[in-house]
């Protein structure tokens, strides 16, 4: 320990937010879920909306997300989080209902719920973690798995003839008039985390102003599923995932961003 003498409250630059519980997260070392949880919790703290926030957790690796957010929560059936959130927010228009979903939950089994919630312009925040794989069940193919990528159910790589193409659901959702903010971010560097946090903040601000659906995709890693250490996984993600899922805003203030 260096510089013990500056460990004083007045010198504090960063500490874990109290909108996270004390539970140790079950995620694998280096998993982007933890980072994303943290910044969502920080945004809730900074906006002072802990009493209004309602988390809808998915099925998948983040099935236990409700154990980590110190906010009232519900665990949805697989893929149904946007349906729950639709009702919760309509019944409580001044609350801050958000879903937290992985790629299998949101873009495979829950595609209908996702598209229709976005198309109705439900005033909810959707946080979408895309790591191109089913982590919880042991690394099977996800709708967002890259072509050629090896998973437990594509052991020879994703083959489009057999498995179809990776689903860019975020671009698809941006086409719907109900979405107000659609953006794709990541949490692998400090700068990226700051940008993602800003996007999540914007999403909750939009909700406060009743603007419709705000959708934040976080392209993330799956060290266990990809079978590489965390730092290597982040490098692989930048090289491969970002090529198919480019980082940046897709729709801002209800308008598609011109590329």
């Amino acid at each position: 320990m260096f510089n013990q003498d500056i460990v004083k409250p007045e010198n504090l630059v960063y500490k874990r937010t109290e909108v996270l519980t004390d539970n140790v997260m079950h995620y694998c070392p280096g998993c982007g879920h933890g980072t994303t949880h943290r910044i969502i919790a920080e945004v809730i703290e900074e906006m002072g909306i802990q009493d209004k926030a309602i988390c809808v957790a998915p099925v998948g690796c983040s099935v236990l997300a409700y154990n980590y957010f110190e906010v009232d929560s519900l665990g949805a059936a697989h893929g149904r989080a946007p349906a729950l959130a639709t009702a919760i927010q309509r019944l409580n228009p001044d609350k801050h209902t958000f879903t937290y979903q992985g790629d299998g939950d949101l873009a495979a089994i829950g595609t209908a719920e996702t598209i229709h919630a976005c198309n109705r312009g439900e005033n909810i925040v959707i946080i979408f973690i895309n790591n191109g794989i089913y982590g919880m069940t042991g690394g099977q193919m996800a709708p967002t798995t890259l072509v050629g990528m090896k998973t437990a159910t594509t052991p020879y790589g994703r083959n489009v003839e057999l498995n179809g193409y990776p689903l860019q659901i975020t671009e698809l959702l941006a086409q719907l008039p109900g979405t107000y903010l659609v953006t794709r971010q990541s949490v692998h560097t400090a700068a990226a985390v700051r940008k993602t946090k800003k996007a999540i903040r914007q999403a909750f601000e939009n909700q406060k102003n009743k603007k419709g659906t705000s959708f934040v995709e976080v392209v993330s890693n799956c060290n266990s599923g990809w079978k590489m250490p965390a730092t290597k996984a982040n490098e692989w993600m930048v090289e491969n995932m970002f090529a198919k899922y480019p980082i940046g805003d897709i729709k801002v203030d209800g308008e598609l961003v011109q590329k």
Binding site: M1, F2, N3, Q4, I6, V7, K8, E10, N11, L12, V13, Y14, K15, R16, T17, L20, V24, M25, Y27, C28, P29, G30, C31, G32, H33, G34, T35, R38, V187, H188, T189, A190, V193, R194, N223, P229, A230, T231, N234
Partner: protein
């Protein structure tokens, strides 16, 4: 250059993923040779160069890093 910042790492909660090590602009952090109660080589400051930028804390998935910076 005199260091202006410091980090306090909750080593029992650290999973030793090393993401903070890559994120640190001053190469302050490294994985310890020792392991914590869960068997992870936790992250620790090994060089007195911390500038209190909090990049490590930003990327830490488990929120185990607290950062201080001298005013």
């Amino acid at each position: 250059m005199a260091a202006k910042g410091t980090v306090v790492i909750d080593k029992e909660r650290c999973k030793g993923c090393g993401v903070c090590i890559v994120a640190c602009p001053k190469s302050v952090l490294a994985l310890a040779k020792n392991v914590n109660g869960k068997g992870y080589n936790y992250s620790e400051a090994v060089v007195d160069e911390c500038i209190g930028c909090a990049s490590c804390a930003m990327v830490c998935p488990d929120g185990v890093i607290t950062v201080y910076k001298a005013k």
